[in-house]
């Protein structure tokens, strides 16, 4: 019995990481209806950036964010402003195919620079520290930190979108980009800022992924799929939904893995497909539908 509690608990904590993957995807979809197929590769890219910052500059893993976050923010802004803004419109093909092409380009550039070797960011004793909750039941300190950070990021994003000037501009532009211009909002700038914001979260997610699992240049697509599943399960456009979706994904994967190691990823996908059948709009759909 306690084993199952443990399985579920670890799954919930993993869900925090998946929520971080998903939040960036949810933001850019929410603001500009863009689905970014490069998302997973950007997570891996930022893990490599963190790795370089730690190995080359000798930073502590968490201090490396001082370098990683501005880089990802600026990269996101430029990526959107110089490329992706030109794909937005009624036609679905250009954004999909352009981000798909970029995904292959980023993967192969990473492969050229860092080789196909599997990497890991070392976080010292933090990796093994754990808190004993009960007999045979303990949680790792690091997964707990990831989960708490995820919750705080979602609270922060929720605040940003609901209560700030820039958040209103995000929502107004998402509603009606033309009328937003009449308010003095430069929609191209807002789109680029939303990508930059999404990549800030990707930067944090990248560091956490690098510490908690092995990664290599081809690891992006599966992160994209996890992010995507969490977004759809949670309900499009709902930030708390991404946390719920992430948790469902994490718990199903852990239960799957407990039954048979080969079923870990499969169980997550199946949970996603089941929810797609019974709740096609996710668990927390936004009232306004597009």
């Amino acid at each position: 019995m306690i084993e199952w509690v443990n399985t579920v608990l670890q799954g919930i904590l993993t869900g925090g990481l998946y929520a971080l993957f998903a939040a960036g995807l949810a933001i850019i979809f929410g603001v500009m209806r863009l689905v970014n197929i490069t998302h997973g590769d950007l997570i891996v890219l930022s893990a490599f950036v963190a790795m370089v910052a730690i190995d080359v500059m000798g930073f502590n893993p968490f201090i490396s964010l001082v370098a990683v976050l501005p880089i990802m923010f600026v990269f996101g802004y430029i990526l959107q402003r110089s490329i992706l803004n030109f794909t937005l419109g009624d036609d679905l093909l250009p954004p999909l195919l352009v981000t798909f092409g970029l995904s292959i380009v980023i993967q192969n550039l990473l492969l050229q620079i860092f080789s196909a070797d599997s990497q890991r960011i070392k976080a010292g004793s933090l990796e093994i520290l754990s808190i004993q909750l009960y007999e045979n039941l303990s949680v790792g300190v690091f997964p707990l930190i990831v989960f708490i950070v995820a919750v705080f990021i979602i609270i922060g994003l929720q605040y940003l979108f609901s209560n700030t000037r820039i958040g209103r501009a995000f929502r107004a532009t998402s509603d009606d980009a033309v009328t937003a211009q009449l308010m003095g909002i430069n929609d191209r700038h807002i789109f680029s800022l939303s990508m930059a914001l999404a990549l800030l979260i990707v930067g944090i997610a990248g560091l956490f992924v690098g510490i908690s699992t092995n990664f290599d240049p081809s690891a992006g697509p599966s992160r994209l799929l996890f992010a995507f599943e969490a977004v759809i399960m949670g309900g499009l456009g709902s930030l708390w939904g991404t946390l719920a979706g992430g948790i469902i994904l994490g718990v199903s994967q852990n239960i799957g893995a407990k039954l048979d190691p080969g079923w870990q990823i499969l169980a997550g996908h199946i949970a996603f497909l089941v929810i797609l059948v019974f709740r096609p709009n996710g668990l927390f759909p936004r009232m306004r539908d597009d």
Binding site: R165, R168, A169, R171, A172, S174, D175, D176, V178, T179, A180, Q181, L182, M183, G184, I185, N186, D187, R288
Partner: protein
Amino acid sequence: MSLLEVNNLDAFYGDFQALFGINLAIEEGEAVAIIGANGAGKSTFLRSVSGLVTNTADAINYRGMDISHRAASDIVGQGIAMVPEGRKLFPSLSVEENLLIGGYSQRAGAWNLERIYGMFPILKERRDVAGTALSGGEQQMTAIGRALMANPELILFDELSLGLAPIVINDIYESLPTIKQEGVTLLLVEQDINKALEVADRVYCFQEGRVSLTGVPRNLTKDSIAAAYFGSDK
């Protein structure tokens, strides 16, 4: 120098030409109405001034400055705000947020939430509901308030009365003299000729993308307006 001076403006939607050599001038503090039938190019004209339609160069001068190629998002900061046709409130923003977003360009001026609520008390009561949950008239008030929050010198009103009940139209139009008294210049596009003539100091009539008549309301006869409105085959 006029506040807004438009010289020989052409406007296009793709290959379709919607405006042909429009000349128009507005002095500071005036209320000017543009009337005309559906498809006469009135709304296109407003969209040109606000930067939503690409224009011929040098055609639009605001305070002596060429704004024909300015982005729409820049023009608000110059002091031109618009109340778009159909109100176009942002559905995911509350009434108050819709008003606040109107002040996004952070142009200095006397307008603030309190004054808007003073002018339209009903909006204060309903400040927290979604903009789109309001009645048509309340939505129009919000749209006017939203434009005022930009602290404009010139407001463009696109079809204020469209889709509203006559009694509501009266309420909305009552706010215009107040706004004018604050020194804001008004440019209205309006299908309801009587309403337009009530508030306007001067009138332009558009027909098929051209100015067909201009004058002061009391000097215009019904016949001259009708001819300018519908065109004459004689």
